[in-house]
Each structure stands twice: as C-alpha cells, then as structure tokens.
Chain length 176, copies 2
DNA sequence: GCCTCACATGTCAATACTGACATGTCGCTA
DNA sequence: TAGCGACATGTCAGTATTGACATGTGAGGC
C-alpha cells in the first residue's frame, strides 16, 4: 500500500485539499510513479485522518477540506522513505511490453522497437523543454523540488528507454 | 489488466506449466515489469483457457499442466503489443520514493539520495556481470531473448537512476 | 525405505482498486 | 442573470489482488 505514503509525501510539503492531491496523480506523479484516481484518494484521506496520520486544518468553499500532515504522519513518512520494504511493488505496462518484445515475430518486434525509440525520443524532447522553463538555480526542496526532480527523472528515463530500444533494434537487425 | 498479456507473451515463446510461468514473476519480469503471485496466475490461466486464448497441451507429473497459446491468443497478444492503450498503468514504489525526496528534511534527502546512488550502482554492476555470461552474439529472439533484453534494460535502468540520484544530490548540495 | 525439498495446483476471505453514478458549488462570461 | 465549466467530494457495485491456508507428488540423498 503506497497510496497513503504518496499522500503523506505530498502533504509533507504543504497542506492541500483532496481535490488538489487527486490532481497530482493525473500529472507526472501518476505517469511515472504511482497512479490513483480520486475515488481512491478521498476514502484514503478519510482513513488516514481517522488513524491520525493527517488532519483537516481548514475548510474552504464548495466543501473543500484542506489536509495537513501530523507529527505521526511525518514520522511514518520518514520511516517508509528511509527504510524501503524489500518487496517494493512494481507494475509498468510499458516495461512489460518491452520485456515481451522477444515473443513477437521478428518484423513486428523491429517495427515496435523503432516506434518506441521514436516516441520516447519525442517525449524526452518535450520534457526537456518543460524543464528549461524552470530557472537552473531553482530550489530543489519543497513544492518546486517535486517538479524539477520529476522532470529530470522523466527526461533521463525516456532517454534510457530510447537508447535501449535503439540498441535492441540494432542487435536484432544484426542477426538478420 | 496486463496479467493475461504477460502470460500470453511468455507462452508465445514456448509452452510452459503454470508453475514455471509463476516463477518468471519472481525474477526480472516481476522486479521491473509486472509482479504477480501464483495465486493470481493459476486462476488467470484457467480463465484464459476458458476464453480460448490458451489451451492445455500436455499433462505432466504431479498434475502439472502445460499451456500453449492458441491462434486467438497470438492475435490478441499482437494486438495489445502493437496498439498500446493510452492509459498504461504504472505503479512503482521505487520511483514514488524518488518523487517524494523533496518532502524530506534536507539531511534525510541527501543521505537517501546517496544511498540510492550507491545501491543502484551495485545492482548495475551485478547485472552487468550476469549479462556478461551470455555470449555477445546470442540470438535476441525467442526464449533467450527475454533474458538478454531484460538484463540490458535493467543495467540501463539502474545506471539512469544512479546518475539521476547523483545529479539530484549534487544540485541539493550546491544549494547548501 | 524414509525424509526432505522442490514441484505443482488450488481455494477463500480480506483488501484494494476502478468506473459509473451522484450531488452540489463557485466564478466567469455573454 | 443564465449557463457553463472547473471545483469538490463522495458512494457503490464489480473486479483484481494478496496472504493464509490446503493438499498432494516426484526425485534425490542417506
């Protein structure tokens, strides 16, 4: 169960409403790290508030509830971050498809690898542009840090996949 | 639902028993791409056999059932591989922890980044050794292909994370 | 021959997650 | 001032997944 820890992490940077928290999961956080819909987020927030990890610290318009992390929550977040469980959960459909390339007929495998290389190259370029908007000396800590770490990670991730796909395609072609 | 596609992919390379299929998920496949226990695998195999994607083609000792992919299964696998759904599911506890680094106090963040850089460097070195055991000209297709693609992907993945962690630690220290 | 371990498959209750549905509010613009 | 779209939270049924439990077999060592 990483969802509560994801929420704890987001709240550790600053108070947020459930709505805003749910939105994070539609961005880079959900794309690279952990996806969740608002239908998981709201019940989880209520559970966490019940167990004292977070608390409602403000009420806004439209019934908005602003949550903040409690001391207990901060302790739990730190514990989880510093001592990762050995059996970390990993599920990634993109990576799965990469692993299964060998199961395809040669021609399909090659065309898929080429497409992967191309699309990850484009994604990397796009992200690099986004990243460029942030000043190079921007603080790495707190709210802005998220975006910068994520963007940099994303760029490197895409580039690694692109290079891997090119390598695999070359190898496969060399066998031809 | 990617589990059936993962199984389809494994079976597309060659017939396997449920037990052997379940074991794949304890290795690199489960570590990087898609994790699943035998308690998901067996019922899923029965479901897939029911819907005609796979079939039992041999019975072995100890009640072992060897499954093979059917034409329908191969078609479905190809469809899924070549036309990825836009909303690919991604869940990765390791990546989540990277994203949340900014939420930690500076000292914790630095020590965690350092540890991440170190452990991914070690993992990369280990995998590189495993990869070296395979002859460089080994076929990229079929059963052996899995291992090679996976190993190469793993190495690049670990190195990318290591480099990212070093970059992040440097940036954070520079802010000092 | 016995013992142990890996092989091999399964059920079932509890938990987690998704997608469809439901409800209402505030701010802006035409 | 009416209407629209984003804001904001939620339930619930159906599905997926996990962890605990259950059961039995074949091979190899002693």
């Amino acid at each position: 169960m990483s969802l509560p820890h994801a929420l704890l992490g987001l709240l550790a940077v600053g108070p947020n409403t459930g709505y805003e928290l749910a939105k994070y999961f539609e961005g880079d956080l959900g794309r690279y790290a952990w996806q969740a819909g608002h239908t998981s987020v709201y019940p989880e927030l209520n559970r966490m508030a019940g167990s004292g990890l977070i608390e409602v610290t403000a009420l806004g318009p439209r019934g908005a509830k602003t949550y903040s992390v409690t001391d207990a929550g901060r302790t739990e977040l730190r514990r989880w971050m510093m001592a990762p469980p050995a059996d970390a959960k990993v599920r990634n459909e993109h990576v799965l498809r990469m692993f299964l390339i060998s199961a395809l007929p040669r021609e399909d495998a090659l065309s898929l690898l080429d497409r992967m290389a191309e699309s990850t190259d484009e994604s990397a370029a796009e992200l690099r542009k986004v990243r460029a908007e942030h000043p190079d000396g921007a603080p790495m800590h707190g709210a802005e840090g998220f975006g910068q770490l994520a963007a940099e990670f994303g760029v490197r991730q895409y580039e690694a996949v692109r290079d891997w796909a090119r390598w695999a395609a070359d190898r496969l072609r060399a066998e031809g």
